[in-house]
Point group: D2
């Protein structure tokens, strides 16, 4: 039986996208599984593009949110002080900032990652009095006009239908392979007063590029960027929207990399339960914002405050969750390395933020389509969509994880076998 998708097809704009890869209607979800209207259940290796690091509908978050709503807790309060916000701020301070000896102020922006990025860019420009932002090849930072100027993806950039200004581009770590030292390129371009590059307001980067193809920056390169930023009076913005909240093993993706960003953007898994929620962290001495200078109706989603607080208390009050992620990450790496060894791809990424570059977007798409038929939701990334991306919930049960990876392995084998057959 085919799902009746006519209401979507007749009413929704052509801009819809993920639903095209997974043409069914979903109804409910729990943990690492998501169920369709036809009763079929899928293992979720997409996890809301890392928005569901703690899985779907975590029971503790659910309960807290239901209680909050039932008790007439504030649902919408602009940026009023609310009890829910206060509790979140306290938990974020207690469980995240203090243990890491980090000193950031929290700016609740409109509840999208792009909005957190827009705020970060504005602040960097305001603080430094400079215009340029340096972003990197294959970076993805959102699609509102300011954030989109930082995004490298040409398909999304073209969607603006106007020039995207204010941003200069430099190569990400190993953008041209191992022979060309991107750190040296960066440094020389900034040290040459006739290079056409000015010292920027800020550098913005992801420590692992999610949409860009699971490209992982080395600690050394990141430290070079930070050093050059300091030398030229520029700020360092880490966009931790996709890589943060434990995806690479630690709460922030940069914790073990020897850098101290001035500004950090967060969203996706921040609410714990996939609710719209974003924030921009900034060093207190950069906090020269005037009231409402960057504002927005939905900044500070109170429902999200509730679930985000539970997430922090449940998963980040000690190091046990991090250790569990590490174990799973090792398991994942072994499986992906084995797959690559067998079929010839390249394993990419770090922690539970991994993928396998299968060489072409067509092949990757076929593998994902095959996975879907077999009960696994999985997607691609990369400039050519050539990387099959494994973004399982961090809380996934090992048996589910194994099952999902088995489906991936079988699908990959099957697609590649049929390719070989075609070629023969």
């Amino acid at each position: 039986m085919t799902a009746d998708l006519s209401v979507y097809e007749n009413t929704e704009s052509n801009v819809r996208s993920y639903c095209r890869s997974f043409p069914t209607t979903f109804t409910s979800a729990s943990g690492a599984e998501i169920t369709a209207a036809d009763g079929k259940t899928y293992i979720d290796f997409l996890a809301g593009c890392s928005s569901l690091n703690y899985g779907h509908n975590d029971p503790d978050m659910k309960q807290a949110l239901v209680d909050y709503i039932a008790g007439d807790g504030i649902a919408h309060g602009l940026d009023f002080h609310t009890e829910a916000k206060g509790a979140f701020l306290q938990a974020f301070s207690d469980h995240i900032l203090k243990p890491r000896e980090m000193n950031y102020r929290v700016q609740f922006t409109g509840p999208t990652g792009a909005n957190a990025v827009e705020a970060a860019l504005k602040l960097a420009r305001k603080v430094t009095g400079r215009d340029r932002i340096i972003a990197f090849t294959n970076g993805f930072h959102g699609v509102t006009l300011g954030a989109l100027a930082c995004t490298g993806n040409g398909y999304h950039r073209k969607g603006a239908s106007r020039p995207l200004e204010g941003v200069d581009r430099m190569p990400y770590d190993r953008a041209f392979g191992d022979d060309i030292d991107s750190g040296k390129v960066l440094e020389e371009l900034l040290n040459n007063p006739s290079s056409g590059y000015e010292p920027p307001a800020a550098f913005i980067l992801e420590t692992v590029q999610g949409e860009g193809g699971l490209n992982e920056a080395s600690a050394e390169w990141l430290q070079t960027v930070e050093r050059v930023a300091r030398e030229h009076g520029s700020l360092l913005i880490v966009d931790d929207i996709q890589a943060g909240c434990g995806r690479t093993g630690t709460f922030f993706s940069f914790e073990k990399l020897g850098i101290c960003p001035d500004i950090v953007t967060m969203a996706k898994s921040l609410s714990g339960m996939g609710l719209p929620f974003a924030m921009t962290l900034l060093h207190p001495d950069l906090d020269i914002w005037s009231p409402a200078e960057h504002n927005g109706t939905f900044r500070g989603n109170n429902h999200a405050f509730v679930t985000a607080r539970v997430a922090l208390e449940k998963f980040w009050s000690d190091s046990s969750f991090s250790q569990k992620i590490e174990v799973k990450a090792e398991f994942l790496e072994e499986r992906l390395v084995a797959l690559a060894a067998k079929h010839g791809g390249t394993v990419k990424g770090r922690g539970m933020f991994r993928g396998i570059d299968v060489g072409s977007g067509e092949l990757a798409d076929e593998i994902c389509a095959k996975c879907f038929k077999r009960g696994l939701i999985i997607e691609t990334s990369g400039a050519h969509g050539e990387v099959v991306k494994v973004l399982a919930p961090l809380t996934i049960e090992l048996t589910q994880f194994e099952k999902g990876l088995d489906i991936l392995a079988e699908s990959m084998a099957s697609v590649i076998a049929s390719k070989s057959a075609d070629a023969a």
Copy 2:
């Protein structure tokens, strides 16, 4: 007893704003009332800047949402087809579009009004192959870089710390008083090939300018803009984020004004319960989007689909709600006219989207501060913050409404009396 606000003050960025006018911690809210941690209850004439047109925590929306969460309904599904989305689309089609003989496709954007505006601007540019957007004096369309270029407010514009490009400005209806015909100005500028204005991709406007000072455009002027747009191959975008969802009496603010916008942006009260949710409506023949060309993690908030559907079914399945708004609007007008007659201000706006221009931002601020002490939450708008803005929930009980207006009247009288005493 003063509320302990230290957690906000120590941890939140200076950018926070509304909380400065209402320095307390709110805990719960129901209907038109909101309660603080100290037990004090306030009547809410701010209503989340028109995000709470149906009041706080409407019992039917609450129940539906609690049931949905308890049943492991999808909380986050990127832009997957979900049952909740399908039901919302059906309800929007049945209760809104069909009865009005309107033909729009729905684009779920990132869940902020600014994001809906960014999508609208991109689409208008893509469709027409033109760059310029014409926005109007005192317009407010959000603060992400693309939307902010359309916003007139200098304080917010300056926050970008870079030039805002791609937008030309024209005077809104009666921007220079009754003597200068803004429609004529618009028409002549577009008809003069040396005016420096090119035929734009689109005109973007609010039918009543919420942030800009409750300025109401006449049907005649709006029709002129639409006619000029048609003559020059430009689209008409109505930003109905603040004025829509019944605020002016009808679901869309433009229903009785004789115009047919090509694109409509919606957010704020769209979810019914104040949850982050936004969409861009577009005529089907403009739907040339490629998949994911404008995307975003939280586009299509499933919790909001649930509550928004309830809102549509409960309030818009027949004309009774509109009629009730009309009655309240008349009552409101009488009260405001009486206030203005007594104290010398000017009544502004339309429907339940009203305000009183008291001549200066300082005075308006004092009145609002006095109201807060007396248990009323109310705010200002306008270029100089000179308009005290009445944005009560449309569902407010008449006794509450009266009580709130009494507080406003007393506060205004008291502030003005003390001014006179000072001056004497």
Copy 3:
């Protein structure tokens, strides 16, 4: 015999323009007459678009230039000090600045008006630390990217094939007729902090718009612009490239209008003989340029220094030339008023910077074409090319002037008669 124009047609780009209206090859010129290869002589009412205010090949300038070249005078010296430059600066100081009690420093820019404008815009932005420039409807300031952003003409703007940024537009004096006070519009837009207009770095304007249709600004409006500029910390730039050098009767077009611009751009007739030459005048306290910050190979054309000095000494050492212009201007006005009375057009402009609006570009073109056949070179201006523009050399002999105006009158009558015949 038709001129053989094949070398131009085969070799020159389609961008060539004036030569299309006057399809012949010119060989020599003297005073107000220009001679073609076929021996035919034309009266010149175009005068290099006001670059030949002193006529072609003034004998004193010619002699001085020939002597200079024969004596191996420096032809090209970058911006070296040269004797020719020193003498020009002294003459400009003695004959122009001192008698008018004006205090300007001279910046020699690249030898085009557009370059002088580019320098003016850069300086205004540097001095004020602001980005925006306010330019006016129908203004023309050149076609390099910075200057073109100020130019109103849509045909030229489109030539950029990219957005023109950094400039906001306001209506010129009486841009919408007498009913709408452009000064009030300007003032209100700047005083409204939500208008979308920021206080600009500078206002740039022509006192009479040459290309824009011989629109003359009133002293009152100009004074309003200057006052508003002062109130908002903005500079006033008068682009006197076409209107200056005596065209309106005085050396600067603004001498009798009660304004004191901060920056003045000059070119066209500045060299006296039509040689490429431009400069930007700036108040000494604005002279915060760093050396070479705006540079260019041909800034300071030494041949032009020689002829420009002769022009200043010959025509501006006392008031006699101004008085003669006034007499001719009165004569011209009488003739144009009579023409307009007879044929129904509108007389435009000031001094010897006049034209007659004949209602349509087609009609104006036909009149000019007819004039050319009868021995008069004359062109159109205006947003629709609807103004037949009389830009005779200021030194034209009265008999020539009369003859030229007779040709114009006859051509106009003839074209209009044939139109009437067609219509009958």
Copy 4:
């Protein structure tokens, strides 16, 4: 006796520059020598920054120009067809284009190199419908807003006091030394759809970067740029303003490098005698300009047509001039190599477009100052002004050339000796 420079100091803007390095008043010049008011004569190794490739006041050009002026030849004719223009076009066709089997149309732009570049950029955007231009590190293309966006020099860029848009930057050949292949970088950035670089309207480059430090591009790299341009539908613009007109040995700098630019910009020595004159060459099938779409008062300087024609006839009617340049260039190279061997610098550039990188701007400045005292005019270039630039007239007598190089050698030795003494 010190020259009295007060008229310049009191009247000219601080923006003046070269005159600061050579604080005297020049009066006359002939061939490779220039004479000051105090009678002192200097050898000219600056040659108007390559505007005087044929030396000062070439007797044949002088005579032709004097005759032309004396005979009332058109001095200023907008873009009318004139005899002088026709003769220049014929000579350019006969002596330059035909012998090289090149097929270009000629666009006379405003008479500055920057204006020719602005025209080239506009045309490339118009032809391709694309916005971006790719320019290279250390490129110099002028300082009007469009051209300045292509220029790499930070000092000049900052002079705009606003963002410079529409241009992306890539590394010039060997910008990062021999280890990093700039051609590979270019190719990979364009082939990666997520690099943030779009296929541009055009690449713009100099084959030898004059202002950027006499950096010479290899034929191989230039061919890579051209190939990548063709693959991506982009045009190739060679800015031959400084390197053209024989400076590198051939008329165009790219003649022997295996590339066929779509658009070529020319100025500086084009007029032969240093008169303001510029043009943009374009392949006929790109000639989609509309009439006057890029215009300007002084486009097509008739005096320059006269001298430029003489230059073409005298120097380019056969290959003898090129051969003589080659001989001088070899001589120059020997001398510079010897100097570098002795003092430790690096010889840069090609043909008669050479320099010696002495390691620091301070040292280079001291050497030039010492040269001036000894009767040689010479200047620096490079991002840090670290290259002493030898731009002698191509027509310089060998004895003068030797004398100038002797002064350079002595000055360099003397400065370096005194440095060593200081250090000891």
